[in-house]
Symmetry: C2
Subunit: 481 residues, 2 copies
């Protein structure tokens, strides 16, 4: 493509993606005095977090929304920018709506009795035990690594039990945590992810776990605060189309011209890396890794009511739904002040694909039917109804994150997961060892990538004393491949 007349930006580090990973990397580098520019394809920051102030005055989180007590990196970032949190609403009894229509209320984190529970508990305890053997920094060093990675979660579950009710519980757990079907996800990835979060309970529960708290001003509040601090270092609406590495630096072709840097941090999901033309092409292991890392499928649907009517009946609004409902899980997503009632319905995996193909009226009707089943007849008429279907988003392509299909870790993990490629460094929650898949993992991945870059720049400064010249491509070139 002819770039002759295009503006050229020169910087020491170019960060691709203004989600939590990219913003954190840029913040760390900027704090360290390293000239950094963030290039974001879409027109906003926050990536897979996105809050919106609805006309009712209620702020809803369309994307990632929770923070837990052991998510130290996210909590530190939020604390730095003064972003307040409040406990997730869970006042009252929870509900299971079973596939045959049975409704079972329960108090506490999980029902004590019910169909499939003994086998479900046995198998999740086994998952926890096996997860305890995972090396989250060098997953390939895990004993029985290849053996675990050779199975789908589904294959493993079915080899463990024939209890269809336990299998239903396990499937909903996989859908809820990974937005994937048990059929498509590697058992090893499930174990790695459990280990990365500190245990199965951390993934599943609310109080003191991953779903403990929410951000008063939305889960993208800290991201917006970081972006404000970075100022015009963050460029929106700048898709990166091609990245060329040469001996002297990195050149990024964008819709708004060239960017030249010494190093680049790619802080985008694996599915978005595919969209960039690399010269030279990425190593086979990195491409193979991406080829085994599809994006999860999720929609979040918010229904806003004048009040949290379910609480009067002693219900928490938290429900899990089996059977024909498109919705898997419902949470009480009301604001901290409790002036409105908000239910959020999660639609996952294969059910998401079928539901998203319906027309808008049918989508709405089926979700409201699920909310009625979960919270009672008043749920049928919300004041406000809004859907976010993540697989339809151009740049994020889904949510919550990319998972790994069977064999992906074995075949491509060691070289493909997050190993730098020349001057390219990888960030994004998919590259995190701790809280992989969560906002916290995105933050720590940005910190790690920034540290890699800083070390590389320092090594270069030692190797070639004197002021490091920014933007040191040795020659212009007119063609990108």
């Amino acid at each position: 493509m002819e770039q002759r007349e295009r503006p050229v930006v020169e910087t020491r580090v170019a960060v691709v993606g203004a989600g939590y990973a990219g913003l954190t990397a840029a913040l760390e580098l900027t704090d360290a005095g390293v000239d950094t520019v963030v290039l974001e394809a879409s027109d906003r920051v926050g990536g897979r977090t996105l809050s919106e102030l609805r006309p009712s005055g209620v702020r809803v989180d369309h994307g990632g929304q929770w923070v837990g007590p052991t998510q130290h990196r996210l909590r530190a970032l939020a604390a730095r920018f003064g972003c307040a949190t409040f406990p997730t609403w869970e006042t009252g009894r929870h509900l299971e709506v079973w596939h045959d229509g049975t409704r079972v209320g329960y108090a506490g984190a999980a029902p004590a009795t019910g169909p499939g529970i003994p086998e479900y508990e046995r198998i999740t305890a086994l998952l926890d035990r096996l997860a305890g053997t995972v090396d989250v920094d060098s997953p390939w060093q895990t004993p029985r690594f290849a053996e675990f990675d050779g199975h789908s979660a589904e294959g493993f579950f079915r080899s463990e039990t024939g209890d269809e009710d336990a299998l239903r519980r396990l499937a909903l757990a996989v859908q809820g945590v990974w937005c994937a079907e048990p059929s498509e996800i590697s058992l090893f990835h499930v174990l790695f992810y459990i280990a990365s979060a500190g245990g199965y309970e951390q993934l599943m529960e609310t109080r003191d776990c991953a779903q403990d708290s929410r951000f008063t001003e939305g889960a993208d509040g800290p991201a917006r605060a970081v972006a404000a601090a970075l100022g015009d270092r963050v460029r929106l609406g700048v898709p990166v189309r091609a990245i060329r590495q040469c001996a002297a630096g990195v050149e990024l072709s964008t819709d708004r011209g060239l960017v030249r840097a010494e190093r680049a941090v790619l802080a985008v999901p694996p599915t978005a890396v595919h969209r960039i033309a690399f010269d030279p092409v990425l190593p086979a292991a990195r491409r193979g890794w991406i080829g085994h890392s599809p994006m999860g499928r999720v929609a979040k649907v918010h229904a806003v009511y004048r009040r949290p009517f379910w609480r009067a009946a002693g219900s928490s609004g938290i429900a899990t739904l089996y059977g024909d409902h498109p919705v898997g899980v419902v949470f009480d997503n009301s604001p901290e002040d409790g002036r409105h009632g908000v239910l959020v319905a999660f639609v996952y995996g294969d059910r998401l694909t079928r539901w998203a193909a319906l027309d808008p009226d049918a989508r709405r009707a089926s979700v409201l039917a699920a909310l009625v089943a979960a919270a009672g007849p008043e749920a049928a008429e919300p004041d406000d109804y809004t859907e976010k279907v993540w697989p339809q988003q151009e740049w994020t392509t889904g949510g919550y994150e990319c998972f790994v299909t069977p064999g992906g870790w074995t075949g491509h993990g060691r070289q493909g997961w997050r190993e730098p490629v020349g001057r390219l460094h990888w960030a994004g929650t998919e590259t995190a060892s701790v809280w992989n898949g969560y906002i916290d993992g995105a933050v720590s991945s940005g910190e790690r990538a920034a540290a890699e870059v800083a070390e590389a720049l320092a090594a270069r400064a030692v190797a070639a004393p004197g002021p490091a010249a920014p933007g040191i491509m040795s020659s212009r070139h007119e063609q990108h491949r």
Copy 2:
């Protein structure tokens, strides 16, 4: 991107990719009098077939190379262009080199006795039986579809047997047929593919099966002949970067300007579709399908000798290798006239990834050691040695083809496999119902896509009588997203 000064090509149909699928589609449309242009990113036609005349005068096939008696579409194409074939060399006794160093010679298609054979034969017969239930045209109609798709081949094999030798045989079979590890491929995809070929034996054997014959002038000979017939309708070195659909047509942004058409046929592997920016974005099901369709990993290494020395010792040169060798299978790839001896070594899957990371001397030494094990000490010193590492190829990204990971068919098959997206039609061997993954499947996929396009154009002609104007985008636009 500004396209103001770029040349504009107008045509009724734009075909992306000049492998067998794209060339066949273009040939069919051209035969029918439909104005068609083929856009090929690389500097040659043939896609994943590629023959080369070596300095020794021997032509080697670096890519797909065989044709079998039931591969009717490829045979018809070859017959039309007068491309001759000859029987694959298999004179003498074959060899198994077992993981403990044991060498077992055998005559006929497969060894009658040996470690793991009873269990291997029982399980492959079971695969054949289950494959018999597959609906290759509407795979999702297959009984037990989701159940089979929920398992990796590895998970299924291990649920069937604890016989490690049988598991070694099954793993090599999967590597040899799909260039994948049993851990990464969906059991349903294995069954679909067996059904698509007409049975497991068709996939595995030489005489009267998939490996029956070779092309005298190389397996890309028919492709080159089609390209010659199409003349300047085939444009090489024209990567398509973006495709925009509107009500009136399709606009393709390439490195050499714009192409406007009424319909487009995308005849590239799923992994290459990722490289194109679509406006509007592709449906979630198509993207999900691609996300579950990684490319196989294979290298072919040819060693050329003055004569086929192994035949004097009664050996066929055909060997299967277990254990530490990078090579899984060796074939006698000598030319028809027998004036030279040629061995071809296949390196697959995880072994390919490890081997490709070695330096050139170590790669060569390890392959020659395997050839010595397979054919004797004379194999150590070839006159000519040449490697083709398919995962390192920019546009094809691997070989033989994209397979489907567990859950991929269930989650995305019905809408994502080959369903047209507006004015976009899908070709490529991955979209074939018969001989999926083979050259023959590529040819039939091109024929099917051409028929879809012709039908759509005819329907339009009926709906809007009068001469169909080529290149009927309603307005210029300066920006591509």
